[in-house]
Subunit: 546 residues, 2 copies
């Protein structure tokens, strides 16, 4: 399908909400209220056969009764009614629907799966795109579209957030709201009967309002489409992904299964890297990434200067920086001279620049000015610990003043303690601010890694050595045979065949059914090994006796 129909989803001119309700606290009531109060510049038309008015707006008995064809319909009615509603919408010409309703996902009953199939059959001939079912909805804050039952109205911003879990959506929205961070799009994909991650990446990659894309994934559908969309998107903007379910704990999963699944996560990891996406492992890391992409231009390189009023915090930041593969900036002689003039004589004359615990705002200002003038500095992390002798808020204010006055390298902040007032200042001045210095360093390194990935993406892989021709036919045959047998995994001997086809060295492995067989296999291997002048070749063989 073309991504063009997704414009009806993200830029609708009119919206119907089917299953709008007056019952306080119900999903249908929250949906109607969110849509009507979101500031959308077009008609929102409630549909409910039992009520003539919902939220002071005229309601319609059914889809056919609507005075105009809605571009987008939001559906929150019981599962058995959904296929009929989608069919009526498609017939009238609606091209996008968001199905909030749960109960016909992949894990549902036979009846549920049948309803899901009938819904898709009704939609397909008319190219009506379906988001969901079983989702929180879709938000486009810049257009006042809040087609969701989220608990709050996010601000407009430049981050697109696409998630398979509605709960993660509300968690991230709640966190971001408190930090003053906004979104270009929030999309809860739910069960992904139709619209999936590949579609979203295709669409958002070329959306000019979206500067970064965040994904929360549990599974991938249409892997090839996903990979090509991810690669294209990551070329134009940072794509950050949380892939959950790294360690599926089926209650009594056998050890062999565990190994297989851990391997599967390794595949995701490699695929993300290959596509140039940044993978983060936890909600906190996602928060850290959002903080930086929401606020920053990309730093030019990986050389970080650290400015702190507490030595210990500097040490923690350096540990985190070096471990993540970043570098401490080496300060230019002119910078050291300028700092000598600005700081007390006991300052350590090196990066981290410890401006000492009694530092007043003026010392922050002068030290930051000196560091911003240094050509060896790609970004600056400013750290503050609370003290009784100087105000943390005034220090934040001095930092913001310097940033506002002159251009220069990216500045990040770590204000520890009760830093609500400072946080507000930093949010206003678009400075990425963190509670701990290590988290600030992590945020910085996301952007450094993004730039490194960008370079890797534009490199072609080294060519194959001339003297070597892989036997790709053999590898293809093994994989095709496994797929034909309906298997998800290669058997051990098939793995051997694939590795051998590319002459990849592998440890010699043998299978023995009894201790005696094991002893014989060992003796045989030792004898063969003695008779050779080089270590056993990489070819793997296996004697099966089990």
């Amino acid at each position: 399908m073309s991504i063009r129909n997704l414009d009806y989803l993200f830029k609708p001119k009119s919206i119907a909400v089917v299953g709008a309700s007056t019952r306080p606290g119900s999903v249908g009531a929250v949906l109607a209220r969110n849509l009507l109060r979101g500031g959308f510049d077009g008609p929102v038309m409630p549909v409910n056969p039992k009520h003539a008015v919902i939220e002071s707006v005229r309601a319609y008995a059914d889809v056919d009764d609507l005075p105009e064809t809605p571009d987008l319909a939001v559906i929150a009615t019981p599962p058995r009614t959904v296929p009929g509603i989608v069919e009526a919408l498609a017939r009238r010409g609606t091209r996008a629907a968001i199905v909030i309703t749960a109960g016909f996902g992949e894990s549902a009953s036979d009846a549920g799966r049948g309803q899901r199939e009938r819904m898709l059959q009704a939609a397909r001939p008319h190219l009506l795109r379906v988001v969901g079912p079983n989702c929180l909805g879709v938000l486009v804050p810049g257009l006042g579209v809040n087609a969701s039952f989220a608990h709050l109205q996010p601000r407009p911003g430049s981050i697109a957030f696409v998630t398979q879990s509605g709960a993660i959506a509300t968690a991230v929205l709640g966190w971001a709201h408190a930090r003053g961070i906004g979104f270009s799009h929030v999309v809860s994909l739910g069960d992904m009967a139709d619209v999936d991650f590949g579609d979203m990446l295709d669409y958002l990659a070329s959306d000019p309002r979206t500067r970064a894309i965040l994904l929360y994934m549990e599974a991938v559908t249409h892997t090839r489409k996903f990979m090509s969309a991810a690669r294209a998107a990551a070329r134009s903007k940072p794509v950050i992904v949380v892939k959950a379910g790294r360690r599926p704990e089926g209650a009594r999963a056998a050890a062999s299964h565990t190994g297989a699944l851990a391997g599967a996560d390794g595949v995701f990891d490699a695929a993300f890297r290959r596509a140039g996406m940044l993978r983060v492992l936890s909600l906190r890391e996602l928060f850290d990434a959002v903080e930086i992409v929401a606020n920053l231009a990309a730093p030019e390189g990986d050389r970080l200067a650290i400015l702190t009023n507490g030595g210990g915090m500097g040490v923690l930041a350096v540990d985190a920086l070096v471990e993540a593969g970043g570098r401490l900036a080496e300060l230019a002689p002119e910078t050291l001279a300028a700092l000598d003039r600005a700081l007390p004589p006991t300052w350590p004359r090196a990066n981290p620049v410890d401006i000492i615990g009694d530092a007043p705002p003026s010392r922050y200002r002068e030290a930051l000015e000196a560091l911003r003038a240094d050509p060896n500095v790609d970004a600056i992390l400013v750290v503050n610990c609370p003290t009784a002798v100087a105000s943390s808020v005034e220090a934040a204010s001095a930092v913001c003043e310097v940033i506002g006055r002159t251009p220069g390298p990216t500045v990040l902040a770590s204000w520890t303690g009760d830093a609500r007032e400072a946080s507000r200042l930093f949010a206003e001045h678009r400075v990425a601010a963190y509670e701990t210095p290590e988290e600030a360093v992590r945020g910085f390194m996301y952007l450094v890694d993004y730039r490194r990935n960008q370079r890797l993406l534009t490199q072609t892989p080294p060519s194959i050595p001339e003297a070597f021709t892989p036997r790709t036919d053999g590898a293809r045959k093994a994989i095709a045979a496994a797929l034909a047998a309906g298997r998800q995994w290669l058997a051990p001997q098939e793995v051997d065949e694939v590795l051998a086809a590319y002459a990849i060295p592998a440890v010699e492995t043998r299978l023995a059914g009894t201790p005696d067989e094991a002893a014989r296999a060992a003796a045989g291997a030792q004898a063969r090994w003695r008779s050779r002048s080089a270590p056993p070749r990489s070819r793997t063989s296996r004697t099966s006796a089990a």
Copy 2:
């Protein structure tokens, strides 16, 4: 020295503050105010030759002028005056001093080092114990002792926090204050001229008001004393340590040096494990650990039940749990039956227990009651994402109500979004509460690891095999020679000798000065290797030609 004199530090009957000041914002003024307003049940006596009254309290011109001998003196005067003041105090019978003053640390000038030595010489004959110099001070909130220039007054509590960095102290105090977490002791050790980590561990291990000990370390003095004190302390209560400076970035450190230093951190790591301490790597991890030790009785084991209103949050928690070595509790049939009665039919009938996004407080209550009755559950993590259809605060209130009513396994909470009100409820009910589910799992696993360490500490190591006698003399000789030469590191050939003494296998390594020598060494090795029936023995040899 005995730890008994430390009672004068932690349980003084009277306190002098030498260098108390009236200048607003000065360290001397903050010290006087903190001491006088901390609620200490004894006289606080300011000493300053220039002022007769400080903070409405009579001040004395010098130490000899004091109307009684103070148990404890806090000193914040210029470095050159400190040795004389310490001597006067020692002569009068004071047994503990906290030297706030900076400028005579190890990194200071020759004059500074001389003053430090003279200070110690004045203190030693009288067994006067010195904390500092260059520190934030000491707080014992339960006794109203605030002998520090901290920016706030912590609450009394059961955690002792000992730190080499004053900045880390204020950062942790600020964070803890906002969470309602209190401390039994806060000790800023500064340059550790006298009192060090070993002393503090010895003292705090047997302090009945201290339930857990946190350390922020950059260096260890008196290693043997430290190890034996750490081992004893960790047997009686959790000891959690941040050891910073894992990756010292000497500006142009050679690659070989980096390797050596990484190894040094490995030594710390092994020592901490051996002592039964828990090592955490960042300020956030320290916060997570504080949250759990401040609130909890230890869980009985590593089987965690997860109760969540959002499936995605459950998945993130499971990933974190399994990766950290914990286990998902397997719910008993009676528990599943009770949950069937309490939950909608679509609940997944497994742990994590997903009570679905529309869960009202009553569903939290009933599901939590069922899980607390399950004998297979060691602890329960309750997760909440904000929704528009149910109140997060009411859910928190329901959880606290269940906990207050019946005893049962430990409960942790993860409330995401703007959870200030819920946090307050949890703090009141002593429930460890986190912003993300992964951080809650990390907190849980600290206590699980603590219990595991406790078991390891009581085990004796397996005995040495009878047929093997290590040549300890050889190893001792190599190490003694290096120490005698004033070296911190073994040379490569000395490492070989130590490894060989214990018959530890090592890869054969040779050093060659030119490509030709390398080729000859390789040919020789290959020839020897061919002539053998087994792989090269573990003995390492090295031909030096460089």
